[in-house]
């Protein structure tokens, strides 16, 4: 049986690794990190460059070319997301491709196609789905009297201040699931940056009769469509966290080889070596389960259970790796100069933006069957 990447995805990984290579990785890693003490460097240019590089390599169109009869793209996006996690990328890319998937599930029409083209050309979207809950589409939303505006409050919306669009799913008072696409720079859109552990770009968003550019109308039932979209978001977030853990593990391994204590390199001591060996095994396990979820999605199988399980596994892995790698760095790991604290903080935030592992597992529990090999 073949559980390795096929040639298409192998090539994509090579391209992604080249685009977000080791020479640029340290810059990306610090991108969007606002130091707590003093002003940080202006990273506008590097952010723009990274976005340009990602759009240039076609990242935003990876899930926009479905093959006849098949929904493709999540495996490719998972390859990309894993590399994004490795370099600790922070930006609106995953929200933007999730919005593409939401649009692809809508009734075809010129408006829908216009947005898909804009996204493929580089427009960015901040999706209000990462507030720590498992069902963000159940959050209250009010449709204006004429149906042309929306009012809602959302928290922890990443990169809301620089995205071109905001994607706002929610539940109206009469029990209808609606999803609005709103231009970020329109009247009625109010943003307030959170001060939080990750020190990144998370915003509270308040929409007060904000004009809606497009109401998304899924071809299938809106709620079940969002179940699947969230499963895709979980798959990509799992891939991101696997990449984050893999890079943190590398950082920890390097540290053990460099750091000498008690007259020898820490690498020679069994306790820390075994700690990292266990984490390395967990990285591979979570990686394969994540790819399984992506494969299920791409082949029109129900991937909700696997996606939830993969996210919960990857979230705990990233959290534990961040914690343990910081520990292996000693007090140095807690200094601003060390990347260990950066991995730790990001892992802590990113491992729960789509719900804690416990909540995600509770959400997918009803989908758990008794398994059967080969089925």
């Amino acid at each position: 049986m073949d559980v390795t990447l096929d040639a298409e995805h192998e090539e994509l990984r090579r391209l992604v690794t080249e685009t977000l290579g080791d020479e640029i990785a340290p810059l990306i890693r610090r991108m969007a990190d606002r130091p707590r003490h003093g002003a940080g460097p202006d990273d506008t240019e590097i952010r723009a460059l990274v976005w340009q590089a990602l759009t240039g390599m076609g990242a935003l169109g990876l899930n926009q070319s479905p093959a006849p009869g098949a929904r493709r793209g999540l495996r490719a996006l998972a390859v990309l997301a894993e590399r994004l996690g490795e370099v600790l990328y922070q930006g609106p890319l995953l929200d933007t491709v999730l919005t593409s998937e939401a649009l692809l599930r809508c009734t075809p029409g010129p408006e829908r196609d216009r947005f898909l083209k804009e996204i493929a050309a580089g427009a960015s979207v901040a999706a209000a789905v990462r507030d720590g809950g498992v069902r963000p589409y159940d959050t209250p939303l009010t449709v204006g009297a004429a149906g042309g505006t929306v009012s809602a409050e959302r928290r922890f919306v990443a990169f809301a201040a620089e995205a071109d669009w905001l994607l706002i799913p929610g539940l109206t008072a009469d029990g209808a699931h609606r999803t609005a696409l709103v231009r970020r720079d329109r009247p009625g859109v109010h943003l307030c940056r959170h001060e939080e552990l990750g020190r990144g770009e998370l915003y509270a968003v308040r929409l007060t009769d904000a004009p809606v550019t497009l109401w998304l109308t899924p071809e299938d039932d809106a709620e079940s469509t969002w179940h699947e979209l969230i499963a895709s978001a979980r798959t990509l977030q799992a891939a991101y966290l696997v990449g984050l853990a893999r890079a943190a593990l590398r950082l920890g391994t390097d540290r053990l080889k460099e750091r000498r204590q008690f007259g020898a390199a820490l690498a020679r001591q069994q306790a820390p070596a075994f700690l990292l060996a266990r984490l390395a095994t967990r990285v591979d396990a979570a990686h394969l389960l994540t790819r399984q979820a992506a494969w299920e999605a791409d082949t029109a199988r129900d991937h909700r259970l696997t996606a939830g399980q993969a996210l919960a596994m990857a979230a705990e892995l990233a959290r534990d790796t961040g914690r343990d790698v910081l520990h292996l760095h000693g007090a140095h790991g807690m200094t601003e100069a060390s990347d260990a604290q950066l991995f730790y903080r990001r892992a802590t935030v990113e491992s729960r933006v789509l719900g804690s592992p416990a909540r995600v597992r509770a959400d997918v529990l009803p989908l758990l069957p008794a398994g059967c090999p080969g089925d």
Binding site: A273, L288, A310, A358, A362, G371, P373, G374
Partner: protein, 385 residues
């Protein structure tokens, strides 16, 4: 084959279906149930092995001339999964086909293969493995069994422990020191030792599992060049290669799956506490990941790129997961899970009670978890050097 999903080729599906059909017959089910209620009491090989052998299903990846059916490593893994899923004791298959058969195919002479493999493939013979000794477990290079030169052959003396099925086996792979050497790994030879021979003693070492261990003693029995597997003094390489190729974690993940499913069938998911429910969802994910890691190794072997780090990861993960599943799954079911197969009220012939007895062996057999972590840390991460 599709990546990751483990969706089989039509030929592999047909093979699995054929095996399932046979293992699902009333006859086989009755035999399996009987052995589950009276573990360790079988007087010989189970009939199910002969039935599989008659149909060419028992050693699917062996060449036809030795009784196999010329299929691939995937079919071998499928058979392991199905034996375990149907509750058929799989140890005879693992030892005879997976380890001894593989060793013979890789290192045996044509004559050895012709003589020893067909009876195994027919399900009429079982082979054992005699590596462990009282003072040589994970550190096999410390073995004390000696083969002293005697004319054109050797005299074999020593004591082997913890071997399964040797009370039924016709022959066994036996590691013995043939040459003293400064380098501990050098000077070990693997012999194909006939066990139904004067001078060979087999005594039971009763243990908590269903399969009895044996202590096998050799009192100077004579072996010849015909009984040497591979090259004299080159046994360490043979052992390493065979155990490495056999170490996929397939059987461990299959056991974990069977035990978890047994618990899920009993409890369902509706009435569980949030903590129990979360644990079961997590364990299910871990078992699924164990299967992916195991099949990645099978894929590696099939592609001729066997990877010791991936094998160690697969074995480590499946062993640790299986052990945890046995305890957590039975805990979720409650005390009824601890009723043994010979208790009238036992669940599924005591599957979870047997799991609790078998589980500690999962992190010991086929290389302990610590040995696996050493491989991952050293060969995988460049640590411990």
């Amino acid at each position: 084959m599709s990546p990751v999903d483990l969706a089989p080729t039509p030929e592999q599906r047909a093979y699995r279906d054929e095996v399932r059909a046979l293992l699902g017959t009333d006859e086989v089910r009755a035999e399996t149930a009987a052995i589950r209620t009276r573990p360790g009491t079988e007087g010989g090989l189970l009939d199910v092995y002969r039935k599989l052998g008659e149909r060419g299903l028992l050693a699917p990846n062996w060449p036809r001339e030795y009784g196999g059916s010329g299929r691939g490593i995937a079919e071998k893994a499928i058979l392991t999964e199905e034996l375990i899923a149907h509750g058929v004791p799989d140890i005879a298959h693992t030892l005879s086909v997976d380890i001894v058969g593989l060793a013979l195919l890789l290192f045996g002479t044509d004559r050895q293969k012709e003589r020893l493999l067909p009876p195994i493939a027919r399900g009429e013979s079982v082979a054992g493995v005699l590596f462990s000794e009282p003072e040589a477990g994970s550190d096999l290079s410390a073995l004390r069994t000696r083969a002293e030169r005697d004319g054109d052959g050797w005299r074999l003396s020593g004591r082997k422990v913890y071997s399964a099925k040797t009370q039924l086996a016709d022959f066994a792979l036996c590691a013995a020191r043939t040459t003293e050497s400064e380098v501990r790994f050098h000077g070990i030879t693997v012999f194909l030792v006939p066990l139904r021979t004067p001078g060979v003693g087999v005594e039971p070492l009763w243990n908590i599992g269903d399969e009895r261990f044996n202590e096998v003693t050799f009192s100077g029995i004579r072996v010849t060049a015909e009984d040497v597997l591979g090259i004299v003094d080159d046994g360490w390489r043979i052992i390493g290669e065979v155990l490495g190729l056999e170490r996929t974690g397939i059987e461990f993940q299959a056991k974990a799956r069977r035990w978890l499913d047994a618990a899920l069938e009993r409890t369902g998911t509706a009435g569980l506490s949030p903590a129990e429910a979360g644990r079961l969802v997590a364990l299910d994910a871990e078992v699924r990941a164990a299967r992916l890691l195991a099949w990645r190794c099978v894929d590696d072997i099939h592609a001729g790129r066997s990877d010791e780090v991936r094998s160690a990861m697969a074995k480590y993960w499946a062993g640790e997961t299986g052990r945890e599943v046995a305890l957590a799954a039975s805990e979720t079911v409650g005390l009824d899970a601890l009723l043994a197969g010979d208790d009238e009220e036992s669940l599924g012939h005591g599957v979870l009670e047997a799991a609790c007895r078998e589980a500690p062996g999962l992190t010991l057999a086929s290389g302990t978890s610590e040995v696996m972590l050493t491989v991952i840390a050293s060969a995988g991460l460049g640590l411990l050097a």
